[in-house]
C-alpha cells in the first residue's frame, strides 16, 4: 500500500503539482474518507496523492456570503456546513444533508468537494446541492475558471466532467428569491441506521413560496436512484404556480410520478430496485404531508 504524497501549501503550488502529474496516475486527497476505503480495496501501484488539506487559500477552504448567494470553497468540511447558521436558516436541505452524512468524526474531515468529486449516486451533500442548482467552479492549471451547473457536473457513475488538468475549486448556491416568504426545504435520507449510513434512496428538495403561499421556485434532486444524482426538472416545473398547502392528493401523486421518472435504480446488496422506486414515490408525496 505504498503511494507518493505531494503537499502543496498554496493554490499556485497546487496547480503546478496538477500540471506535473496530470499525465500520471494521480488522485486528489481532500478529507480522504473515501480514499482510505479505496486504498484498502484496490491498492493501486505507483499512485501519487495530491493532498489538498495543506493549501492555504480562503477561497478554497472558506465560505462567503454575497448578494448572489453563498459560495463554498471545495475544501469546506461537512462539519462547517452543519455549524453555519446562514445555511441552517436559508438552505435547510444542505444543512440536513451534511448532518446526515456518516458520523461526527467523519464530518470533521469530509469535504463538500470530496462528496461532489466522488460522484457517488448516494452522495448526500451533492444531492442537496443539486436541488439548490448549485454552480461549480472548475479551476484549470492555466489559472482559468470554467463554470458548470451541477446538473452537468456528473458524467456518470463515479464520473465527473473534470478534466485531468482541472480541480473543483468552489461551489455557489444562488440566493433565495427576494419575494420568498417561506421555504420548504429538507433532505430525506432513507437507510437502515440513523448514522454511519449510506443512502438507500434520498430526496433533496428546496421549495420557495411567496406571501400567498404560491410556489415560485422549486428544486428537487434524487440520490441512490440512478447512475448519478439527478435533478427532477419536470417535477419541479409542475409545482410552479401551485399553492404549497393546497396540493391535492392527485397532484402529490403526479409530482411523485414525475420525480420517479428520473429514477432508474438498480438492485444491490442494500435494496432492490422495486423497493427504491416505491420508497422514492412515497417520500416524494410526503413533502406535502
Amino acid at each position: 500500500m505504498n503511494f507518493e504524497i505531494i503537499n502543496p501549501g498554496t493554490t499556485k503550488e497546487l496547480l503546478a503539482a496538477v500540471k506535473k502529474f496530470q499525465k500520471e496516475n494521480f488522485r486528489f486527497g481532500a478529507g480522504c474518507t473515501d480514499f482510505l476505503m479505496e486504498l484498502k480495496k484496490n491498492p493501486s501501484e505507483g499512485l501519487t496523492v495530491i493532498n489538498l488539506s495543506q493549501v492555504k487559500d480562503a477561497q478554497f477552504n472558506g465560505l462567503k456570503k454575497s448578494v448572489k448567494g453563498l459560495r463554498m470553497g471545495a475544501m469546506l468540511t461537512a462539519h462547517k456546513i452543519v455549524m453555519n447558521e446562514e445555511i441552517k436558516n436559508k438552505y435547510p436541505v444542505l444543512h440536513n444533508a451534511a448532518e446526515s452524512l456518516a458520523s461526527t468524526q467523519i464530518r470533521q474531515v469530509a469535504t463538500v468537494g470530496g462528496n461532489m468529486c466522488t460522484a457517488s449516486p448516494s452522495g448526500d451533500i451533492a444531492c442537496a446541492l443539486a436541488s439548490l442548482q448549485a454552480d461549480c467552479e472548475l479551476l484549470s492549471t492555466t489559472g482559468k475558471i470554467r463554470n458548470v451547473n451541477i446538473n452537468s457536473f456528473f458524467a456518470g457513475l463515479r464520473k465527473t466532467v473534470l478534466k485531468k488538468n482541472e480541480i473543483l475549486y468552489g461551489i455557489s448556491i444562488p440566493a433565495n428569491i427576494k419575494s420568498t416568504k417561506n421555504i420548504f426545504s429538507n433532505f430525506i435520507k432513507v437507510g437502515t441506521r440513523r448514522s454511519m449510513e449510506c443512502s438507500v434512496v434520498s430526496l433533496a428538495y428546496h421549495i420557495q413560496t411567496d406571501s400567498n403561499g404560491i410556489i415560485i421556485k422549486a428544486g428537487a434532486a434524487i440520490g441512490a436512484s440512478a447512475p448519478t444524482i439527478r435533478f427532477a426538472a419536470t417535477a419541479c416545473d409542475f409545482l410552479i404556480g401551485k399553492k404549497f398547502k393546497n396540493i391535492t392528493q392527485k397532484e402529490k401523486e403526479e409530482f411523485a410520478e414525475k420525480v420517479l421518472s428520473y429514477a432508474s435504480p438498480i438492485t444491490d446488496i442494500r435494496a432492490t430496485a422495486g423497493y427504491r422506486k416505491e420508497v422514492l414515490f412515497n417520500i416524494s408525496k410526503s413533502i406535502f404531508e
Binding site: 441506521r193 420508497v279 410526503s286
Partner: protein, 770 residues
C-alpha cells in the same frame, strides 16, 4: 439474620474501566515479542472445489518469508465439536473460510504479499447451499469426516426430546397454530478482531499462547489434541479481550495454524484478522427453520408444543451444533406446558458454519415461541398480556424437562413490564392510520442462571490470599471478557473481608497459575466464580478468626470484617487485618493467609433423554417494546424497551445496566438490521458498511426494572444475567410490528423491504377478500 451489605448492590465502576478508556489495556494486538513473525492465511477462492494442486514455490522465494505450510506439512488432528474439521484443508474446499495455506513472514505486508504468490488450482464444484438440497439422496457427502451415524450422510447432529402426551393435549386444545419461522445468520462483530500470538520454545518444547479464548482450559485440551501435544505443555495467557459474546467458545483453525507456524519456525508468530476476515471467518449465530405447532385450551392454558428444527450446520460442526440443549429448554419449560415434542437436525452444507452466540439458540426459539403465543391469543380473542400471565412459570415448579424453579420471577417480570410500559393502554389506543403506525409487543424468556452442566464439571476453582500488608489477591479460574466478573469478585471479597477495593487484585489470565474453570459461557461467571470465591473466603476466615481470637484474648469466633479490621462482635475490640496476617505468618502456627476452594454447582448432568436439573438456578425476563413503523419506507423505529429481569439479586447496578442495555441493542440488531448475507457460499457484506450493526444514534430508551428473587444457590441470591437481555428482544419487536401493521412476521431481520412487502401483502389480501 442477613447482615446489611456495604459493597454488594452498589454501583462500583468496572475494575478495568480506567485502563480501557485510557488506552492502556493490552489487547492481543498490542503484544510484541522478540523475533516475532507475522502470520497470514490463504483461504479458498471457491466455497466448493477440488484442490488440484498448491504451489508455494514463488511465495517461498519472497524475501522475508520464513515459513509456508499446507495440509501436507501438518501432522495434526481434526478439530471441532465432532472432530470433523481439518485445520488446513487437503484435496477439497467446502466452505468460503477454508484455510489452504499459511505464511509466517518478517512483516504483515510480506506475509500478505506471499499469499498472492501462492498458486492454487481449483476444479470448481457445484456447491450445496440449501439444507433441502443436502438431504437429497443424490447429494454428495459434504463432510467426509462426519460421524455417519445418522440416516442421511449430510446430517451432522440430531436431538430428540419429549414430555407429556402430545396426542391427548391436542384433543384438549381449542385452537392449534402451526407456523414456520426463518432465522438469519448474525455475526458477533467483536470490536477487537480475532488474534493470537504463539510462541513455541524449541528447547523445552513448550507452547505459550496469548489467546482471547473464553474457555482457556477446554482450549488448552483442544489445542493439545489438534497438535498432538500434552495439554500441560501448553500455557494459555489471555490478554485483554475485546468482545466475546460466545464467538470464542470454539477453538478456530487459525489458532492451531498460528501455533504450527511457531513450532515450525521456532519463533513467536502473531496472527491478527483484518475486519473483512473477521466477518468472513468468525462463527455466526445459527440460521435455522423452526416449525412450531402449539395449542391452547378454551380457557387460554397452553397445552402442547411440537417443534421441528432444521439448522444449517455449514461445512463443519462447532459447539453451535449443541444449541438445541438450550432451544429445547425454552420450548419445554418457558410458560407451563403439559406436553412437548422436539426434534432438531443439523445439516451439512457448503455454507459458513455457525458457532455459539450469546443466547445459544434461545433468541431463535423465543422468537418462534412468543410469536405463536400472540397468534394463539388472537385465535382465542384473549388479551396478549393475560394469556402470558395465565401461563407464566411459578416458584416451586418442576417442569416437564426436570428443571426446578426454586425461585422464579416470571410473573413479576411480566406484571412489571405490562404496568411500566402501560401496555394495555397502548395496545388499545395505538395509532391505526396515517403514515406512522405504532405497535407494542411482549415477550418473555427463560435461561440458565446458575451455569449449565453440559461438560462433566461446571465448577470453578479459587485460590485466595491476603498478604502481610493487608492486600488481597483472588486467583480465579474464571476469566474476564468484558462482562465485569473481575469487578464483581473484588466486590465480594471486599464485602466479606472488609478490605477496600483498591487493595484487591484479581489474577485470572494464566492457565499455568489459575485453578480450573470451565470458562465464560451460559451466563455463569458471577454465579459459579462468585460461589467459589465465597467458599475460599469461608475457609480463610476460619484461620483468621482463630488468630484474631488469640490476639484479642477471646474464645469466641464471632467477628465482623470491616475497614481493614477484624472486630469482635462481643467486646467491640478490634485488630488490624494485616496484623493478624503477619502474626499468623511470623508466630505460631507459622502459616500464610491462603485458602483454596473448588465449587461445583448442584446442577445435574441431564440423562440421555435430556431430562434433569441442568442449572443451579434459572433466570427469567420479560420485555415490552413500543415501535413506530414508517409505512412509506418500511423502517421500524424502536421507541421504548421495558425490561424486567429476574436477576436473583443486583450485585452491581452499574454493570447490570451495561449488560441489559448491551443485550437489548444486540437484540434490536437481530430483530431489524443484522444479517450476514450469503450467495452460493460467499459472504456478500463482510464490512460494517453493509452489515448493519446499530450505532449509538439508534439506541432507544431502555427502561430496566430488576426483579430480585434472592436465590438460595446464588452468591447473595444472584443469578446469571449476561445473555438474558438479548433473548426476548427480537420476539417482542416482531410482536410489536405485527401489532402495528396487523401482519404476520415469520422471519428475521424485519428489514424495510419485508415490512413494505408485508403491508402490500395485506392490501392484496384485503382486495381479494372484497
Amino acid at each position: 439474620m442477613i447482615k446489611k451489605l456495604k459493597i454488594i448492590g452498589t454501583p462500583v465502576p468496572k475494575h478495568d474501566a480506567a485502563i480501557r478508556v485510557s488506552g492502556r489495556a493490552i489487547y492481543g494486538h498490542d503484544i510484541v515479542l522478540p523475533g516475532m513473525l507475522h502470520g497470514a492465511i490463504l483461504r479458498t477462492e471457491h466455497p466448493s472445489a477440488i484442490i488440484e494442486f498448491i504451489d508455494v514455490s514463488e511465495a517461498k522465494k519472497l524475501s522475508g518469508v520464513i515459513c509456508i505450510i499446507t495440509a501436507d506439512d501438518a501432522d495434526v488432528n481434526n478439530i471441532g465439536y465432532k472432530r470433523d474439521h481439518p485445520i488446513l484443508k487437503k484435496g477439497e474446499a467446502n466452505c468460503t473460510r477454508d484455510e489452504i495455506a499459511a505464511v509466517a513472514a518478517e512483516t504483515k505486508e510480506i506475509a500478505r504479499k506471499a499469499l498472492n504468490l501462492i498458486k492454487v488450482k481449483y476444479k470448481i464444484r457445484k456447491g450445496i447451499y440449501e439444507t433441502s438440497e443436502a438431504l437429497k439422496e443424490s447429494a454428495p457427502q459434504i463432510n467426509k469426516f462426519s460421524s455417519g451415524k445418522f440416516e442421511n450422510k449430510n446430517i451432522a447432529e440430531k436431538f430428540h426430546y419429549e414430555h407429556g402426551n402430545i396426542e391427548e393435549e391436542k384433543k384438549k386444545s381449542a385452537h392449534i397454530i402451526s407456523r414456520k419461522f426463518t432465522l438469519p445468520r448474525m455475526t458477533h462483530a467483536c470490536m477487537a478482531s480475532s488474534n493470537i500470538t504463539a510462541s513455541f520454545n524449541n528447547i523445552d518444547k513448550k507452547l505459550l499462547l496469548y489467546s482471547s479464548t473464553q474457555v482457556p482450559f477446554l482450549y488448552q485440551r483442544d489445542m493439545a489434541h489438534a497438535l498432538k501435544m500434552n495439554p500441560s505443555d501448553i500455557r494459555v495467557i489471555q490478554p485483554v479481550i475485546g468482545g466475546g459474546f460466545g464467538s470464542k467458545l470454539d477453538m478456530h483453525p487459525f489458532e492451531p495454524i498460528c501455533a504450527l507456524l511457531s513450532i515450525k519456525t521456532g519463533r513467536p508468530v502473531q496472527l491478527i484478522y483484518s475486519r473483512e476476515e473477521e466477518f468472513i471467518a468468525s462463527p455466526i449465530r445459527q440460521p435455522m427453520e423452526i416449525e412450531l405447532t402449539a395449542g391452547v385450551d378454551k380457557k387460554g392454558n397452553f397445552t402442547f408444543r411440537e417443534i421441528n428444527i432444521v439448522k444449517d450446520n455449514g461445512a463443519y460442526t462447532s459447539w453451535g451444533a449443541t444449541t438445541p440443549f438450550v432451544i429445547m429448554q425454552a420450548f419445554s419449560s418457558l410458560y407451563k406446558i403439559k406436553a412437548c415434542r422436539f426434534n432438531s437436525t443439523a445439516v451439512y452444507t457448503n455454507n459458513v458454519f455457525a458457532g455459539s452466540f450469546r443466547g445459544y439458540g434461545n433468541p431463535q426459539a423465543t422468537f418462534a415461541l412468543e410469536r405463536v403465543i400472540d397468534l394463539l391469543a388472537d385465535e382465542l380473542g384473549m388479551d396478549k398480556a393475560e394469556i402470558r400471565l395465565l401461563n407464566a412459570n411459578e416458584k416451586g415448579e418442576a417442569t416437564g424437562q426436570g428443571l426446578h424453579y426454586e425461585t422464579c420471577g416470571h410473573k413479576e417480570c411480566l406484571e412489571t413490564v405490562i404496568k411500566k410500559s402501560n401496555y394495555k393502554q397502548h395496545a388499545a389506543h395505538n395509532r391505526q392510520s396515517g403514515r406512522f403506525l405504532h405497535g407494542t409487543g411482549l415477550a418473555s424468556m427463560l435461561h440458565v442462571g446458575g451455569g449449565a452442566k453440559i461438560y462433566r464439571s461446571d465448577g470453578c476453582g479459587t485460590i485466595l490470599k491476603i498478604d502481610p500488608y493487608g492486600y488481597c489477591t483472588i486467583i480465579t479460574g474464571s476469566n474476564e471478557i468484558g462482562q465485569g466478573s473481575e469487578t464483581v469478585l473484588a466486590m465480594i471479597a471486599s464485602e466479606e473481608l472488609g478490605i477496600e477495593l483498591k487493595k484487591i487484585k484479581v489474577i485470572n489470565t494464566d492457565t499455568d497459575i489459575k485453578p480450573w474453570d470451565v470458562g465464560v459461557h451460559a451466563s455463569r461467571t458471577s454465579f459459579v466464580a462468585g460461589n467459589s470465591l465465597l467458599g475460599a473466603i469461608k475457609i480463610l476466615k476460619v484461620k483468621l478468626n482463630k488468630k484474631a481470637a488469640e490476639l484479642l484474648k477471646t474464645n469466641h469466633s464471632n467477628f465482623d470484617y470491616s475497614d481493614n479490621k477484624i472486630i469482635s462482635l462481643k467486646s467491640n475490640d478490634s485488630i488490624a487485618l494485616d496484623k493478624v496476617v503477619r502474626e499468623m505468618h511470623f508466630s505460631e502456627p507459622n502459616e500464610l493467609a491462603i485458602a483454596d476452594y473448588f465449587y461445583e454447582p448442584s446442577s445435574k448432568f441431564q440423562d440421555k433423554n435430556f431430562k434433569g436439573n441442568v442449572s443451579g438456578t434459572y433466570a427469567f425476563a420479560s420485555q415490552a417494546v413500543e415501535v413506530e413503523v414508517d409505512t412509506y419506507t418500511g423502517n421500524v423505529r424502536v421507541l421504548n424497551v421495558y425490561v424486567a429481569q429476574d436477576v436473583g439479586r443486583v450485585l452491581n447496578p452499574l454493570l447490570l445496566d451495561g449488560q441489559i442495555e448491551g443485550g437489548v441493542v444486540q437484540g434490536i440488531g437481530y430483530a431489524l438490521t443484522e444479517e450476514l448475507l450469503m450467495k452460493e457460499g460467499k459472504i456478500l457484506n463482510p464490512n460494517f458498511h453493509n452489515y448493519k450493526m446499530l450505532t449509538a444514534a439508534d439506541v432507544p430508551d431502555i427502561h430496566f426494572f430488576p426483579v430480585e428473587t434472592i436465590d438460595k444457590e446464588g452468591p447473595y441470591g444472584a443469578k446469571g444475567v449476561g445473555e438474558a437481555s438479548l433473548i426476548p428482544t427480537a420476539a417482542a419487536i416482531a410482536n410489536a410490528v405485527c401489532n402495528a401493521l396487523d401482519v404476520e412476521i415469520l422471519e428475521l431481520p424485519i428489514t424495510p423491504e419485508k415490512v413494505l412487502a408485508a403491508i402490500a401483502g395485506k392490501k392484496k389480501l384485503k382486495t381479494e377478500k372484497i
